[in-house]
């Protein structure tokens, strides 16, 4: 096995591929584990006070989902979801398990969003589940119709596709938001950005009135960031406009692990900044980004592998090292 220089290793991480990458060893397992825990956390303890679906969306157009608000129903639904997460984590029966998980998640949050408001914090997780379900159903359908498994490219597994199409969803979510911003504002979004000071005051006031008894913001206090935006319109356009640029560049996460890492960290930082500035919290977007873009499961798997290599090298000092400093799995085109 050849030695890799740092430059070569870096190139292997940033080489544009634009296709599913090999997902070696425990990466797929760790990604499924983290994602299942996140989806389950969203459902855990959820109880509905709603008894109607006045403004239906998604499945609520076709099914009366108000049964979800009946006493005792949600604990059962959450329990079934939790049980289904186990085979999902261990990649057993995915062609059945993933569509069921998707159906439950989409039903629960479609009902949640059918009350006259649209909450955009949950959709990314439902969409990732939907994309993963589509992948496994496609693979199963291919095997059933053509009588042979879907021909995977060299080194790829089903996990490669699950991770890739989860990244597609994350990229798509941010890029469609860019299209909406330009469309709704008639391409004047950046020009209108100093007006965001109004929304800043609004979100601060809303945080107070949600829980006045424990709120960390006061009722009528001036919001310094809003004042700064009014006084510095060009800097505001530059600062918030860079967020729009970041969202527009999200397709790069599909190029390779390197760009996914860079974009994933940037998106995480963007959401932390938005949370601190605007009091708007998109925690599940951050977690999804950490799992599928920053790709924490891959780096954890990589550290485990490197640690094993070091131990092996210590045990057999005469043998040359088998991996380079930053070696990623080969990204052959197959």
């Amino acid at each position: 096995m050849t030695h890799f220089t740092f430059k070569e290793a870096l190139w292997s991480v940033f080489r544009p591929v634009w296709r599913p990458l090999p997902a070696p060893g425990p990466e797929g397992f760790l990604a499924r584990l983290a994602f299942a825990l996140m989806a389950l956390t969203m459902m855990w303890g959820l109880r509905f006070q709603f008894d109607s679906q006045d403004v239906p969306t998604g499945l609520a157009h076709f099914v009366d989902l108000t049964f979800l608000s009946k006493p005792g129903v949600m604990p059962w639904v959450t329990g079934i979801f939790a049980v289904l997460c186990v085979p999902y984590i261990f990649a057993q029966g995915l062609a059945v398990v993933l569509p069921l998980l998707t159906l439950i998640h989409c039903s629960v949050f479609a009902f949640f969003n059918s009350q006259g408001y649209k909450s955009h914090g949950n959709q990314i997780i439902s969409l990732i589940l939907l994309a993963q379900a589509a992948v496994v159903v496609f693979f199963a359908a291919h095997r059933w119709i053509k009588g042979r498994p879907f021909p995977l490219r060299a080194g790829r597994t089903r996990d490669s596709y699950l991770i890739y199409y989860s990244q597609v969803v994350i990229a798509g979510v941010y890029m469609t938001s860019v299209v909406s911003k330009l469309d709704v504002s008639n391409f004047r979004w950046i020009q209108n950005l100093p007006n965001m000071s109004v929304q800043l005051v609004k979100t601060h006031r809303q945080e107070f009135y949600s829980k006045p008894e424990t709120s960390t913001v006061s009722r009528d206090a001036e919001v310094p960031a809003a004042r700064w935006m009014i006084d510095h319109p060009h800097q505001t356009r530059l600062l918030l406009g860079s967020g729009l640029l970041l969202e527009a560049l999200c397709f790069l996460v599909l190029a390779n692990r390197g760009w996914a890492l860079v974009l994933g960290v940037s998106i995480t930082v963007m959401h932390i900044a938005i949370a601190s500035l605007m009091r708007l919290y998109f925690d599940f977007n951050v977690y999804a980004s950490l799992i599928f873009l920053v790709n924490a499961p891959f780096w954890i798997a990589w550290i485990i592998r490197r640690f094993a290599d070091h131990q092996e090298a210590a045990a057999h000092p005469s043998q040359p090292p088998t991996r380079g400093p930053l070696e990623a799995p080969p990204v052959t085109r197959g």
Binding site: W18, G172, K181, N195, E213
Partner: protein
Amino acid sequence: MDLPVAVTTPPTAPPPAPRWRRLLLHPLMAVPLFIIITQQLGEKGYPFSNFPMYSNPSDWDDYIYLTDAQNQPIGIQTHVGMSSAKLNKVFNNTMKDFGLRQSAVKRNAPPEIESKVGAEVLAKARRWSENRQRPLPQPTRLHRVIIELQPDGRLTERTHFVAEG
């Protein structure tokens, strides 16, 4: 004597698919497809959404809050089980049901229609709070605040009483 020679045909690779077909079936094409679907479905097809939040920052916006009879603020999250922002979206959505769709109309909504909207939202909020065993006090007042960015750079907040119930 010549030995029989096994005649084998050299393996031939299937002809590559046309370039346009390979481009169309490239995994990356899932992104534009996703954007087209989400833009077409808008907000009606959960889990899809075109994510239009803060897509047109305007020089005014509004929020609502609840108080008791002494005008002391009531925790919307605590009682109704949703953030103030969500209840505000319910209020704005109900405004649309009463024909107040345009931004300028909503900004200066006729008081009589606004109070009908407020009464409907208050009734919902009360029902939801009772379903969670955290009933709103009787009476509860709904107030609306219009925040405006004035041409001279001042941020002003106009508060007015909307409904009680």
